[in-house]
Amino acid sequence: MALPAHASPLERLWRRVFHLLCALILLFLIAPILIVIPLSFNAEPFFTFTEKMLALDPTGYSLRWYDLLMTFGMFAPDAPRDAAWWADMWANSTWLRAAKNSIIIGVFSTLLATFLGTLAALGLSRPEMPFRRAVMAILISPMIVPIIIVATGLFFFYSATGLAGSYLGVILAHATLGIPFVIITVTATLVGFDKSLTRAAASLGASPATTFFKVTLPLILPGVVSGALFAFVTSFDEVVVVLFVAAHDQQTIPRQMWNGIREQISPAILAVATILVVISVALLATVEILRRRSEQLRGVTPG
């Protein structure tokens, strides 16, 4: 909204101040995320910019912390980097093992949350759904209830049922935490869904299953994938439940980071953080593309 030509000098000044204020707030939002990227290439074990880094001296930068991510936990990190070294890393690197665990747990909990959540969102967006409001409130509540309460409850429940320390226990818990995100995104896609399309399919002789797979699913797929990505990120970033119910050797990336921050924070954490920031940029871009695609498909104007 441009200022009209008759704006007073005071208004023009205020507009400047307002823009500066917004720029500062946006900087507050984004700077902490970007600051870790250059610092992760620090050649020194410091958390601040060294003079060499500020002078853009190449010797001030190094990949040593990324290297440490691979070698940490290996049997023979200093051996020559041949096939045996890579095999050692693949099998023993602490961070790599944590990443594998995170991905296994993330993928299975996402599949579970997406399948159940999409099914439920389809039911919830039907006008004839009974107790719609109450059911919705229950299904969204894992997002609202403080995580420490969920973790405490699951700790007692899993100790009693023998799920403590198992992959299944963590996967079920993470699926529960991801479900609200799937429901919110899929029901948002189903708002304004043109019911006449399914009726047309039915009148042309398609069975409900055919109608769903050929008509409904392609239209809501962008929403389903966005929801799945949300669920995956939720699991991939979850640490409290893992701390409470997972076995001691079940490390995940957030748990490893948590330990790193609490005990001895080293720039290796910043290297992990940088990798995670890159992943989140990729995920955000994917979700944006999906959102636009969904709007195109449904003929909704953006905004």
Binding site: F47, A137, I147, V150, G153, L276, L284
Partner: protein, 415 residues
């Protein structure tokens, strides 16, 4: 005139009934779609939390390990001084518990209500094998503290498996020798102050989020879509970035040798020995949590501000309002639903926050969640942890209900 005739389907079923049947079928179908998830959430979420709530009023570690004394308490009136039967029950129970190695569990349970008694149980337990009648003299010879009427009153309380005592403890209350509810000594009062701190900090963070979120949301809502979509990425990226990454970044920025302090020292604004302590205290909690929760205010504010037509403010201006009056009387009231939605959501999330305060809060920036975690993992007073969690959960659910009434859960948006 033809007789009014009921409309029927081709098979002769009255149309009304056919319609009712079809509607019932549609309702059933919708519910069946939701049922698997509902069942899943009930089993993996509601039942565990329900069990935890049960634990906040139920603790049988005394009754299960001291059966004879528990039976004596059950048959006598409160305030009954211990008679010979009571002393015998106590001595035999202590001996049995010492043999079963559960005397420490009993001592810990009594210790929750009467600090300093755990060692009395474990020390006497070690001597219990050699106890002979007369039991009273044997026990008092082991430790004179067994005659303390306060101890007997506390044991009577602990013998009841169901009791509200853990909720009393969570509210800084206890019972005196006669079983009446009194406040705990001043130096042991922690929980009420911690609830107050949690709410004060959550309110402060909410206010900061609204103050910082409002201008940005306004800017995004008034820019052309092309530009606002671009700037929106700056708001959404923190949303998608791992919480631990954001917390790590704040440690890097705020710590004593961190980027902010070093820059201030390097530019001469700060003496080297006068570095600001910005982290591992309340300041750290407030800054990091405001950063984490800010997108949750910007997004609802934006979705409320975007459809506000700019012509309203223009009309106010053309009718002679100053820009401040036009903002205050015309624009601001229209954004209130967004402010309410954002503020309520941030407050709900802030009250139960755990990770950020645990990592950057130090001692003064801890919230109620951190104390629940402490009782779960360190002091192992699980019933007290459950009672604190129940109080927190109750408060959060009231706020959630309010959010549903005022905003509606359907309007929750994620980008």
């Amino acid at each position: 005139m033809a007789e009014p005739q009921t409309l029927t389907t081709p098979d002769g079923v009255p149309l009304k009934r056919a319609l009712a049947r079809a509607q019932a079928r549609a309702r059933r179908r919708a519910f069946l779609l939701v049922a698997p998830l509902l069942l899943f959430v009930i089993v993996t979420f509601l039942v565990p939390i329900g069990q935890m709530l049960h634990r906040s009023v139920y603790n049988d570690s005394f009754a299960a390990n001291m059966p004879r004394l528990t039976a004596w308490f059950a048959t006598t009136e409160p305030d009954t001084p211990p008679d010979d039967a009571a002393w015998e029950a106590l001595a035999l129970d202590l001996r049995a518990a010492a043999e079963a190695r559960t005397v420490g569990v009993v001592g810990t349970r009594v210790n929750y209500d009467l600090p300093g008694t755990r060692s009395l149980f474990t020390a006497t337990g070690r001597k219990a094998r050699s106890f002979q009648a007369p039991w009273r003299e044997a026990l008092l010879a082991a430790d004179a503290d067994w005659a303390d009427p306060m101890l007997w009153s506390t044991m009577r309380q602990a013998a009841r498996s169901y009791s509200p005592n853990f909720f009393l403890a969570a509210l800084d209350l206890t019972r005196d020798a006669r079983g009446a509810i009194v406040a705990v000594p001043q130096d042991r009062q922690v929980y009420v102050a911690l609830f107050q701190r949690t709410f004060t900090l959550a309110a402060l963070i909410t206010v900061l989020c609204v103050l910082l979120g409002f201008p940005v949301a306004h800017l995004l809502a008034t820019l052309p879509l092309r530009w606002s979509n671009l700037l929106m990425i700056l708001v959404l990226l923190p949303f998608w970035t791992s919480l631990l990454v954001r917390t790590t970044s704040w440690i890097v920025l705020l710590q004593g040798q961190g980027v902010i302090n070093n820059s201030l020292v390097a530019t001469g604004l700060l003496a080297d020995d006068g570095r600001l302590s910005l982290i591992y205290n309340q300041t750290g909690t407030i800054i990091a949590m405001t950063h984490v929760l800010l997108p949750f205010t910007i997004l609802p504010l934006y979705s409320v501000m975007r459809p506000i037509p700019p012509s309203y403010v223009r009309a106010a201006r053309s009718l002679g309002a100053t820009s401040w009056t036009a903002f205050r009387r015309v624009y601001l009231p229209q954004t209130l639903p967004g402010i309410g939605a954002g503020a309520l959501l941030v407050f709900i999330l802030a009250v139960g926050y755990y990770i950020t305060p645990a990592l950057v809060g130090g001692a003064s920036g801890q919230l109620i969640s951190n104390l629940i975690a402490f009782h779960m993992t360190d002091s192992l007073n699980w019933s007290l942890a459950a009672a604190l969690a129940a109080i927190l959960l109750g408060l959060v659910l009231i706020l959630y209900w309010l959010y549903d009434r005022l905003v509606g859960i359907d309007n929750l948006k994620l980008g």
